[in-house]
Symmetry: C2
Subunit: 424 residues, 2 copies
Amino acid sequence: MENSSTNSRFRSSLFNHDDEDQDKEYVGFATLPNQVHRKSVKKGFDFTLMVAGESGLGKSTLVNSLFLTDLYKDRKLLNAEERITQTVEITKHTVDIEEKGVKLKLTIVDTPGFGDAVNNTECWKSVADYIDQQFEQYFRDESGLNRKNIQDNRVHCCLYFISPFGHGLRPLDVEFMKALHEKVNIVPVLAKADTLTPSEVKKKKFKIREEIEQYGIKIYQFPDCDSDEDEEFKQQDQELKDSIPFAVIGSNTVVEAKGRRVRGRLYPWGIVEVENSAHCDFVKLRNMLVRTHMQDLKDVTRETHYENYRAHCIQSMTRMVVKERNRNKLTRESGTDFPIPTGPGLADTETEKLIREKDEEVRHRAEHGHGHDHQHGHDLNNEHVHEHNHGHDHEHEHGHEQHQDPHVEHEAHSEHHPPYPEGS
Amino acid sequence: MENSSTNSRFRSSLFNHDDEDQDKEYVGFATLPNQVHRKSVKKGFDFTLMVAGESGLGKSTLVNSLFLTDLYKDRKLLNAEERITQTVEITKHTVDIEEKGVKLKLTIVDTPGFGDAVNNTECWKSVADYIDQQFEQYFRDESGLNRKNIQDNRVHCCLYFISPFGHGLRPLDVEFMKALHEKVNIVPVLAKADTLTPSEVKKKKFKIREEIEQYGIKIYQFPDCDSDEDEEFKQQDQELKDSIPFAVIGSNTVVEAKGRRVRGRLYPWGIVEVENSAHCDFVKLRNMLVRTHMQDLKDVTRETHYENYRAHCIQSMTRMVVKERNRNKLTRESGTDFPIPTGPGLADTETEKLIREKDEEVRHRAEHGHGHDHQHGHDLNNEHVHEHNHGHDHEHEHGHEQHQDPHVEHEAHSEHHPPYPEGS
């Protein structure tokens, strides 16, 4: 309920500076997070969730249950023959939903339920390609001239559905997750958990976690707790981490259980309640995905997976330019003054070093989580830490000539200062 | 006092999902702004403020008064001869301050008080260059391979000090502001306002606003109010807009006025209280700069001034590459396959069109404010607006070949798909 009075709260924080705020020691920049909060509400949010795994594991039902919306209104169930073609397509559903004044543009990327095909070799390929294509589009857009209305279709999370009937992971699961784990945040779920008893769930989860470790699969790592969090928070965080893979049950049906109307499944032996945490991890998954970690999933996508993709692209471009230049050297002399993003010196040493570092970082995250990576660049000392950057002081001399105003003389400007970096 | 319990508030919003939250119609993404809030606190903030204007107008004193810190501890006052050299330098002071758990890395960029030199021709040049250099550095950094720890030195706001003794603006003021107004958010202040009576302040403000309009100077425009704000909010917002240029008085001295200890100036005829809104606009300026509009100043810098600079850079690069290619055509045939950011087709038509649009946009903002520009891309309908993007559906076919996995075969990948845009 913390958002119900967003507007009035901000209105008061923005203008009604009462006597308290006239406090001699209070400047007022403590309102910065509120300014950010307010702007984010105004702008609205977006989130792209991919679902993958064998067909028939209840992917669509779970998504509908998670977001209390019918994303697949128009879907028709296909017969066996049609299903062979159905599996080759990746489809995208977008829905604008609003809750307590917060707008979310939710996109669900539905991948072919790959168990359906007879030959599943490289079934992960089209999914991996899809993710790369979204990165590529974003790379083009953010390298372009007009970046005002870039549509960001990068995939923030992939819910990977594991069959409750396998003995742990199936070879296809391993292959699929390994093909994707450096491109997207994978969150494994144990599907249709109402076919397993609590002790079976426990054993199966343990087995799957063990195999994930054993096969070197890097699933999404929850960020570490801050050390200043209280014990209760830390315990809940640990519980969340121990719930992987989340055992889930989906249902779009409301049934009556002990006088309450709940979403669930009515069996002759009892009622399975989707949102009862004694029955499955549905609520835990939804809380993680929506209420606590949605922003982190977006941040990791942007800061790690996308940056990874981008670094690989730049590396290959650089290699190509170097090759081209070497070719040019045979025909003419002055082929070295192109303003390309990365200079020739970088090509085989610096670039590769950086990419190795990035790979290392991804590995590190997978092993140790990444919660603290977001926190950097700020001195932890309390107040008035003077940092007179004398290295940077006096960095400017009056009347120097080499830097031209780009508004005045474009050609001259860029010939003196190629705006893309050449050496760093 | 809205931030005093930041941690506990978030802790409870992140994990304690009580019965209220089990509401059947509540998914939970309304916590997204809180996730953003929380992350912003964790990461910390930075802000770069530039002060400019004639020397002797109390720039340093005002900055110290604004942030309740002594940024100029080490500064020595210079004699007349020294001052001639002093004025040619731009200096930068950084201080880490913390308030209610919110960390701010504040950078003050101090520009030469230009009235000191005998010849002030192009005195704005070094300041304009400084701003461009920060943009250029950022452009290099964000075009580089490792973008993890980019230090952002872009100038978010320039407080421009106007002398209380001029009859409105001086020619130098006009020249200076016009040279900078497309690069930085200019906030004009009427300095040392304790030398003017209230009616003089009123007349001088009116004159200055008139001249700003008349000379086509585009100062920072406060974003428009949302139409759903209440009347009180709208009135305060209008008052803020009518206060331009803020009449300010700085003081680092605490004096006793009617039994209270206040920051002020003790005259034989009375005490000028810096934070008394009947005496000057200091509190209004501080509220605007720090408590209400700091994030907007950063956003406009990033979205308008920097994007403007970047577009000009890319345009000049493109022109250069086209020239180079034309030169190449004379010597060899196959010179057209470089993966440059913007393709040749763009050079003189698309690029320039986009830059014209950007210029138009800046003009539009200056004329109409820009408050609503941040809000786009989200449907305003309430819930469950289905948007089955059938244009984008089925966008993927199984087993197609043209997109290579960049992890596997870099050279092939980039030769099929130059990752930089060639046509958009």
